[in-house]
């Protein structure tokens, strides 16, 4: 996408929570000479309620872009609005939640003290803080470790505390830098579920990752950065969909004779051999199922013990926090899917 296309697309987007225009970040040395062009003239919009992913290899400018959105770095050129204001405005920060790429927590504080500390920075009342902290500690599975100092924690446990502090103020915009880094598969799944739940509640989530599977699972739109520039940007399914190919999923236990007949017809109609194989669950789903079975048999003596996917105050009204993964859109009919697959796409959509 060219620079002009970026600008046009960004300008036309409604209700932008984050609006970046021709953003540039140059790191300079002691003598103020340019050292690294970390971000080179990028423009994008992030809309309310969407999960936006920033993808790219190490050093591509993801974290720098995120840090500019948080006011931790200042753009060298260009313009950046977050929630309609400067990222450095305290009113913007009051509506933000941030999980950095590593959990930069005070090592001498316990998880509860850490959350109280950050809750106070948001001006939350004591009763609000106590209620939220209880739910958040339950959510991240650290209720049993609430009196240990964070310095004693493993990376994954500290990461969970970092995640909890990012949510203490029930933010409108949640910025997660490598959110699944250091987490076990259970933790990763929990974070992804959390992101999806927050998005359903109308929260905007920006996440940066180089773990493509994580991004694919949760993001509505992505931007792929390389060498400080956006190389591709758009809705996830638009970018990944192979629009000239189709996949037909049959119900379970189709008789082999029926399948043979179908293949013969397909061969005759298409004039070539179609691919047939057994569908596979992905490794994550398989792992989670095994752990779920094991959890019923073994008591977890240390580490994390998650009981809820999301704190009650973060859940949608009427939504019951549960430990299960969200259901996929399995109820949509085959006709609806076919209709969706065959309808022409809006070429201007990003």
């Amino acid at each position: 996408m060219t620079k002009d296309e970026h600008v046009t697309a960004a300008a036309s987007a409604p209700e932008a929570v984050v609006a970046a225009r021709n953003l540039v970040k140059i790191f300079r040395d002691f003598w103020h000479r340019p050292k690294v062009h970390a971000v080179a003239d990028i423009s994008f919009d992030i809309r309310r309620g969407e999960v936006f992913g920033l993808l790219g290899p190490n050093g591509s400018g993801k974290s720098t872009t995120i840090k500019m959105m948080l006011g931790l770095l200042h753009p060298s050129a260009g313009h950046l609005d977050v929630l309609g204001r400067s990222p450095r405005d305290v009113q913007t920060k009051a509506r933000l939640g941030y999980l950095p790429e590593e959990s930069y927590l005070y090592p001498y504080l316990t998880p509860a003290e850490t959350l109280h500390f950050f809750g106070r920075l948001f001006g939350l009342s004591r009763s609000d803080r106590e209620a939220r902290i209880e739910q958040l500690l339950d959510m991240i599975g650290l209720l049993h470790a609430r009196n240990r100092t964070v310095g004693e924690f493993s990376k994954g446990m500290a990461r969970r505390v970092g995640l909890a502090q990012a949510l203490i103020n029930d933010p409108d915009l949640i910025v997660l830098d490598e959110p699944t880094s250091g987490l076990d598969p259970l933790g990763c799944r929990q974070v992804k579920n959390l992101i999806q739940t927050l998005a359903r509640r109308g929260k905007t989530v920006v996440l940066s990752s180089h773990l493509l599977a994580d991004v694919e699972d949760v993001c509505d739109r992505i931007a792929i950065l390389y060498n400080g520039r956006i190389q591709a940007m758009g809705a996830m399914h638009d970018l990944l969909e192979q629009r000239n190919r189709y996949r037909l999923t049959l119900p379970e236990d189709v008789p082999p004779d029926t399948l043979r007949q179908m293949l013969a017809q397909a061969r005759e109609l298409l004039g070539q051999e179609p691919d047939v194989d057994h569908p596979r669950v992905d490794l994550e789903q398989f792992f989670l199922r095994i752990i779920e079975q094991a959890r019923g048999q073994v008591h977890t003596p240390s580490g994390t013990a998650p009981t809820k996917d999301i704190a009650a105050y973060l859940a949608t009204q009427g939504e019951v926090p549960s430990a299960s993964a969200p259901e996929t859109d399995a109820k949509a009919s085959a006709e609806e899917k076919l209709k969706h697959l065959t309808e022409p796409k809006d070429p201007t959509a990003t």
């Binding site: 948080l70 931790l72 305290v90 930069y104 504080l109 106070r120 920075l121 001006g123």
Partner: protein
């Protein structure tokens, strides 16, 4: 207030749990207990109390000063280095709140440690001055000279300008002054010489001083003249003399014969009814017959009329407050250094500032001196420029340092001298009200512009 308090509490928790406070308490304990056991005093009770208040407590406050400076330098700089600051400044916290929170935490922690030191020291003083352990003479000394808070009044300054001028003219006539030395450099030297002469008591002669005595809280309390002198004999042989207290025309003038040991403090008790109607007190020191040594006084330092002004404990608490204000001032310097530089550089700069504060009086003298090299024709333009730039630096430093340079309050308390609430208020206003505010402004301004997530 909530973010400031949250940051303050976090700073205190971290200091306590990182064992910094335990280490400090250990050092303070050693200085408070160990020093009086190792330093040999003059053997007197007053000397013992003086060591405890001046040196033990002084060492404890020095340790606290250095620890405060180091901890404050690290407070922000380590947060930047370890990146916790990214978590804090991405919250709705203004740079000034962050700075103030850290500062408040350090001040409260220092306040607590200072309280421990002063309480321990006070308990020790009370223990060694307990009436059951003292003779009646020592008990009287404790009540009159040691555990007291007395205001110090210096004698009225004499006008010596005419005598200085006369001396100058005479010297000029004798050709004593080199032509290249400016008159303004000669006159201060002459003034010191004339003042020394005017305050000397020569053999067979007498000298007189007048004190303007402020209104006393208790008019019946006797006054005390504390004095010391240098002798022309240049040794410690006592010099006999007679004090005459009261105006010369009074019939009830008090006469007291004394033996003055040079360079040693003595006390003369004066009934308050010898004050004149205009609240002046005239004292005269006459050389005793047969004495051959001249007694020399620096009236601003060596003659002190001490007036009971309040209780020792409240004086002691005022000294503690003054030290706390100083620590608060140092914490401000350290914090702002920590926002500007990395920990080692900030600590170095902070220590340099502490050094400047300790040599502030010397810098004042340097700033006041004339640049002689600039007036020497063969010095050259380079030396002229160096001299003027250097002097400008001293002048600027003196301008900044002078308002915050103060006498050590422990010296006052140890000497039983009164520290007024006015001093406490002025120190609070200048050191905390003005200087801390300006330093905070600089630190907060820099923090607001600083990119805290720059790659290291």
């Amino acid at each position: 207030m909530s973010p400031i308090w949250a940051i303050a509490v976090q700073a205190m928790r971290s200091a306590i749990r990182s064992k910094l406070v335990v280490l400090l308490l250990g050092c303070l304990f050693v200085s408070l207990i160990g020093l009086p056991l190792t330093i040999r005093g003059d053997g007197t009770l007053a000397g013992h109390v003086y060591i405890l208040l001046r040196y033990s407590l002084g060492l404890a406050t020095l340790i606290l000063s250095l620890a405060t400076l180091w901890a404050s330098c690290a407070a922000v700089a380590s947060d930047i280095r370890d990146r916790q600051i990214q978590m804090v400044v991405s919250k709705p916290v203004r740079p000034m709140q962050l700075w103030l929170g850290k500062w408040l935490g350090l001040v409260l922690l220092n306040g607590a440690l200072l309280f421990v030191c002063f309480t321990a020291s006070y308990a020790a003083v009370r223990w060694i001055t307990h009436p059951e352990r003292l003779t009646p003479v020592e008990q009287a000394q404790v009540e009159e000279d040691i555990l007291v808070a007395q205001r110090r009044v210096a004698p009225r300054e004499r006008d010596v300008s005419a005598a200085v001028q006369a001396e100058y003219q005479a010297g000029r006539a004798r050709g004593e002054w080199p032509a290249e030395v400016a008159t303004r450099d000669i006159l201060p030297v002459l003034e010191r010489r004339v003042r020394a002469q005017a305050n000397a008591v020569h053999p067979g002669d007498a000298n007189r001083w007048v004190f303007d005595v402020p209104r006393l809280p208790d008019s019946g309390q006797p006054l005390r003249l504390r004095y010391r002198a240098n002798s022309s004999g240049l040794d410690l042989t006592p010099v006999r003399a007679v004090w005459r207290v009261g105006a010369p025309d009074r019939v009830d003038r008090q006469e007291t014969s004394v033996e003055i040991v040079p360079r040693t403090w003595h006390t003369l008790t004066i009934p308050s009814d010898l004050l004149g109607p205009d609240r002046t007190l005239t004292i005269e020191l006459a050389s005793a017959p047969g004495t051959r040594a001249t007694l020399l006084f620096d009236p601003s330092e060596d003659l002190r009329l001490m007036i009971e002004q309040g209780h020792f404990l409240t004086n002691y608490l005022r000294a503690a407050l003054l030290i706390l204000f100083h620590l608060a001032f140092l914490a401000a310097i350290g914090l702002t250094c920590g926002t500007l530089f990395s920990i080692p550089v900030a600590t170095l700069v902070g220590m340099y500032v502490l050094l400047l504060l300790n040599v502030g009086r010397f810098i004042g003298q340097l700033a006041a001196w004339e640049v002689h090299v600039a007036q020497t024709p063969d010095a050259g333009w380079f030396m002229w420029a160096v001299a003027h730039v250097t002097r400008a630096i001293y002048w600027g430093l003196n301008l900044i340092l002078q308002p915050v340079i103060a006498e050590n309050p422990l010296a006052f308390v140890a000497a039983g001298e009164w520290l007024g609430w006015g001093t406490v208020g002025a120190t609070l206003g200048v050191k905390v009200g003005v200087y801390v505010t300006v330093i905070m402004g600089l630190g907060a301004w820099h923090l607001s512009r600083k990119e805290v997530a720059l790659p290291s």
